[in-house]
Symmetry: C2
Subunit: 415 residues, 2 copies
């Protein structure tokens, strides 16, 4: 499989060269053609998807996974809309990030350029196929898509459409390629194609991300692990705190920016803990709490160190009372995965100390953790949320899919 994947990667490199030398208008024409052809060919895509869904049912796949896998007319239309949204975004390539004329007259410009070839390794949802292709092509990169075996027919049908549209618009079809998902070895080959692939991004559950980060020799960006805390300070508006805790925990539970842990300052614990426990119970949230929480409701189960370390991604939350802001900071620093941390407070000083004291991609002051999201941030498109510190941190949009080159123009200057 290594040879097959490396051959695909070599074709991607050739396509990437053409893409790097093309114009923003040409890329936008290709993306628009992709959107149009997806709608035109939606019957093909849906037929392929129906076969994936049938196979999933036959093999006894859980209903929520079948739901994620299933496409219909409106989901295909949404994919096409996603492509058009990316068309409307500014082209990051060619942006001059920094520039000056040096004392010796040299003209220095730091210019955004594509990374080259990007591999995306992802799980069931076939809409990622179109999303990822759009973001990569718009940022001037050829993309190698390695979806899951369960969506293989859907992905193949979508990629066929995208390639045909790219070619009809004058770009090489190979700007988008599908890596076969026959077995795990193709994913391994992709993440280890050092020198052929410039970046691999995993999109999916914790297991997939760990597998990529641990085994990739290609540069990779860790995404998505979110052991997210909400800290309710002594100076919090408690109505606001209740809204924020409930929204952060229950708005959607399976996503990385949902809250997993609640810390309450002891000064407001007597009032706030019973309120929040009752409200969480009403929404079927299982609370793993310390003694103060347990005293509020017999349904609270004792919290363990492991609970504080767990990303539940379900209607469960760990909770404890802290003695001070510093105590809260110590707790967050110990258990944080560096995704999103939130404070609810009316104190400017507490907000500032919390912001400087945690070490995360996003810090929320008096707002829900659910806002850590490329769409909510106004980036127009997102390819995941980086929880590492190098290159990109937080929601990644088009600029994060580029690197830069210093272009230095002179008239014969030497040292």
């Amino acid at each position: 499989m290594d040879d097959l994947v490396h051959d695909l990667a070599r074709r991607s490199r050739v396509a990437a060269r053409a893409l790097a030398a093309t114009t923003g208008a040409a890329k936008d024409r290709a993306l628009t053609a992709m959107a149009d052809l997806l709608v035109e060919r939606s019957a093909d895509v849906l037929a392929a998807n129906a076969r994936d869904v049938e196979a999933a049912r036959t093999s006894g796949t859980a209903q929520h996974l079948i739901d994620r896998l299933s496409l219909d007319e409106s989901r295909v239309a949404a994919m096409a809309d996603g492509l058009r949204t990316v068309v409307a975004l500014p082209d990051p390539v060619g942006e001059v990030v920094r520039g000056s004329t040096l004392p010796n007259g040299l003209q220095l410009r730091q210019v955004r350029v594509p990374l080259g070839v990007i591999g995306i390794i992802y799980e069931a949802r076939p809409n990622v196929t179109a999303d990822a292709a759009a973001i990569c092509v718009k940022s001037g990169n050829a993309v190698l898509l390695r979806g899951s075996g369960s969506a293989a027919r859907s992905n193949a049908a979508i990629v066929t459409v995208l390639r045909e549209a790219a070619e009809s618009a004058g770009l090489p079809a190979d700007v988008v390629q599908l890596v076969p998902a026959d077995d795990r070895s193709t994913a391994r080959a992709l993440m280890q194609a050092r020198g052929l692939v410039d970046l691999v991004i995993p999109r999916g559950g914790a297991g997939l991300i760990r597998e990529v980060v641990d085994n990739a020799t290609v540069p990779t960006i860790e995404t998505g692990a979110g052991n997210v805390h909400v800290y309710v300070d002594a100076d919090a508006d408690l109505d606001m705190a209740l809204d924020i805790v409930l929204n952060s925990k229950t708005h959607r539970t399976s996503v990385c920016n949902s809250a997993e842990s609640l810390l309450v300052h002891k000064a407001v614990a007597d009032v706030f803990v019973p309120r929040v426990v009752a409200a969480l119970r009403e929404r079927d949230v299982l609370v793993h709490g310390d003694a103060a929480f347990a005293a509020a409701d017999p349904a609270v189960v004792p919290v363990t160190d492991e609970d504080f370390d767990t990303e539940f991604l379900a209607l469960e939350i760990s909770a404890r009372v802290v003695d001070s802001l510093d105590d809260a900071l110590d707790h967050v620093r110990r258990y944080s995965t560096g995704h999103t941390e939130a404070i609810v407070t009316s104190s400017m000083e507490a907000a500032q100390r919390f912001t400087l004291g945690v070490d995360a991609a996003a810090v929320m002051v008096n707002t829900s953790t659910r806002f850590t999201d490329g769409g909510e941030f106004g980036f127009g498109a997102e390819i995941g949320i980086s929880t590492q510190k190098l290159h990109a941190r937080g929601p990644m949009g088009l600029p994060e899919m580029t690197t830069t080159t210093y272009v230095v123009t002179g008239t014969g200057q030497v040292r």
Copy 2:
């Protein structure tokens, strides 16, 4: 040794927290105190250095390495000046990189924050000790310095001074720590202290860089490999081309931005090849050339594929005639290490095609490759030249030693 290094790293993390929460003025006071105390204590530093130099002589170290190791009053003064240069640079921490008010009223700011703990693994020159400490502390990071065994006494004396000065200025001494260089295992422990160290940067020869990139589990930045090409186009001003080739090759040979390979368009080969061969010979440069170069001078030795792949770092150069700009681009793409590539041309079109067609940290148009340098670019301080595409590419200054956090401030917004 792992335990020792990990203990040091844990102390660095504590110091890093204090540093992240301090002000730019406090960091500048510490750096100024370091500069002052280095000059005041230069006798101590020089005495320690004399013992390193004596040990190097006894063990039969080559003279050029002893030269690099040796300090004197003026070199210590230069270190102190380097610290003061960094004081004068703007503080990257707190810079708002991007900011907006979202439609729901949330205030979004992307703010530069320190990475945390940075490890530097470097070879003989003791001045790197002060340089690296200055850049890391100014960018709000605690630094773990792992120099070479041959400079151990010098580095220890310098670090003692830096720590004492930091403490006198109110910062934790542990913002600067020296990792013992007793054996290789301490370097290995440093580059594998995942979760304790945020970034490791190797500074030194190709062997050191390879060792770090291949074995690090901590994020690392590849620096310095420079198989640098100068391409003389059909439309080149040949006097300018000669100056640029000579300067790029001979101004300093042991550095990563010096030229290693020369490509000449066939349209100017008849005139230019004999001129450049004669001029290179006059400067004692051994030319490994193709038939056209060999015909110009019997001293030219036949060039091999291996020569084109070699970073000589010496008075040697590989050279060939190319049929076209595309031929030159194919050659560069095949052998480039992505550091610096240069074109000499009067054609706007050729310059643009070359700039888009190579894939390097820096592209020089009508100027010497020797200008790829943080100092020359006006960054004030440089901690190496990245040849990778993620996070930082090209000369790295203070901003490259930071990451960002999105700070989102609201008034109770939920989704």
